[in-house]
Amino acid sequence: MFQYYFVLGLRSLRRNPALTALMVLTLAVGVAASVATLTILHVMSGDPIPHKSDRLFVPLVDNGPVQSYKPGDEPNDNQLSYTDAKNFLNSKAAERATAIYGASVAVEPERKDIGVFTTRGLAVASDYFNMFDAPFRHGQAWSPADDKAAANVVVLGRKLADKLYGDTDPVGKRITLSGKQYQIVGVLDKWTVVPRFHRIIGSADGAFSDEDDMFVPFTTSIRNEMQRNGSTSCTDDISPGYQAFLDSECTWIQFWFETRSASDRASLQNYLDSYAAEQRKLGRLKRNAANRLYDVREWLDFMKVVGNDNKLSAWLAFGFLVLCLVNTIGLLLAKFSVRAAEVGIRRALGASRREIFQQFLIETTVVGLVGGVLGLALAFGALALIAMQSTALTVVAHMDWIMLLTTFAMAVLSAVLAGLLPTWRACQVTPAMQLKSQ
């Protein structure tokens, strides 16, 4: 009977085209608004590296001044000082480790048709590429020996490589960055990580920024005193000079550990606690604050990647959907009320209340499906409009298969929910009364 009721549902769309169009549009607008905001929330709150998100950890130790500190306060910073980052890099406390900070360089192209321009990149350790599954188009990451030697090597992002070398493989060539020669060892391929969890702080669009143009060894960027491009937090006055800055307690470096398994978290935490205790003994760390490890999901929560305004938008969109549903209920009541005679006839011909219920509910499901198709089109439109607002939103405002199916499921579920009361009312029709009144 499902097929029969489905066909009847399709026919009933034509029965009262204006009412049907209004219902479909109401449902579609409500679903589109919800799906558009939900899509953004879904992309923002997704696990960017599911196969190892429980093995990647951000360590935080509190190197703030003792003044204004109350026991039990959480660390009030989300980056590390150079001293801590350097110690962690040398610690071998985990399988892999990388420090990260934003670096800004002047690129001096060999090609005469391109002038000198400034670009942004990252100073990282060689482990960085493996830790975050960076895809290489040409070449590979530099070696740990390059890290150790602070060698002038660079990995280019695909956009910069395309700009400078077109389709040719530039691995092995030399490039001048801020007056120094670097050897190109690799070129990354398209690398979309949403949210861009490994470098949330300091980039232009936070967790939803574009790909970086180049990567140099952390040790090299320090040796070459590469210009920082990111967030720096200092609580004390700093003496002049780069070395004084490195020796200060200013925090400006993000750090990630990768453990062999999720269960190694405890030993990493032990290392962090021992390290902090030792630094307190040395008089460097003055606060007795807790030392924190955050895995990827915890880090995204801690950094409030999905802000309260995003959540509020989603709630408001759902509120709007409920409003649309109430309207759809009213429209369905109107549509079904004129079908009382048909219900009476069908009941007289042998339909039970249950069969009438099924028929009308499947009819509302058909309305839901049509509403879903239109809602999907509207949602794509809404996402395109949202994407036009900023670069960061371009990254998140796109629909995947899950959201595509969610749209249909939501439309059908909404229609079925909206149809419950009108369908129940239709089932209560007294056939005898309807048949006589015809």
């Binding site: 007289a348 056939p431 015809q438």
Partner: protein, 242 residues
């Protein structure tokens, strides 16, 4: 075929009680053509609705084709209605946006027949009422008499044992009414029991038996003159009084 004993139907509101049927007794045999007459408000429609399992009765007993229907749930009543009964209404009650074929198909769908059997039954039923060539048409494209024929085809398609007709000629002109009545007599001659409510005394005399209802009770049961088809059975042509 249909037996009601001491059957009562009371409509209750918070203000008043209305006794539509009181101590109602009737026994309709298999193959009979019974007309039901009576003044407005006498209980004819209540009787027909209860007989058609469209309404429940307050108390008493109702046996339909050997089945006691008292206390049956909605599913069982609907199934029984679908299998045993056919309905013909004064207002035809066709579904306007379904073709004639699809209108006749409705009760067969609920019966669960397969597509081939449904098609065969629909074509037979429409052929029987002379509308086989118009099965793709819609009710609005037909005259009143033709629409009533479609309703009859729909009622017959499921091979019901009892056909309930509520003033089936009430909306038709004399010529069309005669045609419909002849069709009903033909159906009855083929063995289907017919129970027909009518205001028309001329139609009442054409049935084998007329039941007159007044104030929710059967006032008398009179065997009328044999019909054209009875005449074959009663060759002497005499009037038989019950």
């Amino acid at each position: 075929m249909l037996r009601m004993q001491n059957l009562n139907k009371v409509y209750r509101t918070h203000m008043i009680e209305t006794h539509a049927l009181r101590g109602f007794e009737i026994n309709v045999k298999q193959g009979e053509f019974v007309t039901v007459t009576g003044p407005s408000g006498s209980g004819k429609t209540s009787f027909l609705n209860i007989a058609g399992l469209l309404e429940e009765f307050t108390d008493g007993e109702y046996i339909l084709d050997g089945i006691n229907v008292k206390g049956m749930d909605d599913n069982a009543r609907s199934r029984l209605r679908n299998e045993k009964l056919g309905f013909i209404f004064q207002g035809f009650n066709l579904i306007p946006d379904l073709s004639l074929f699809d209108n006749v198909d409705v009760p067969l769908r609920y019966r669960g027949f397969n597509a081939a059997e449904r098609k065969e039954r629909i074509e037979d039923a429409l052929a029987k009422v002379g509308l086989a060539s118009r099965m793709k048409h819609y009710p609005a494209e037909l005259s009143g008499g033709q629409q009533q024929r479609v309703a009859i085809a729909r009622a017959l398609a499921g091979s019901p044992k009892l056909l309930l007709a509520d003033e089936p000629t009430g909306n038709l002109d004399t010529q069309m009414a005669r045609g419909v009545m002849e069709l009903l007599e033909e159906i009855n001659a083929q063995g289907t029991t017919i129970l027909m409510v009518t205001h028309d005394p001329e139609l009442a005399v054409r049935s084998q038996r007329n039941v007159h209802i007044i104030d929710g009770q059967v006032s008398d049961l009179v065997r009328k003159a044999p019909t054209l088809f009875d005449a074959n059975a009663h060759a002497d042509g005499k009037t038989h009084v019950a």
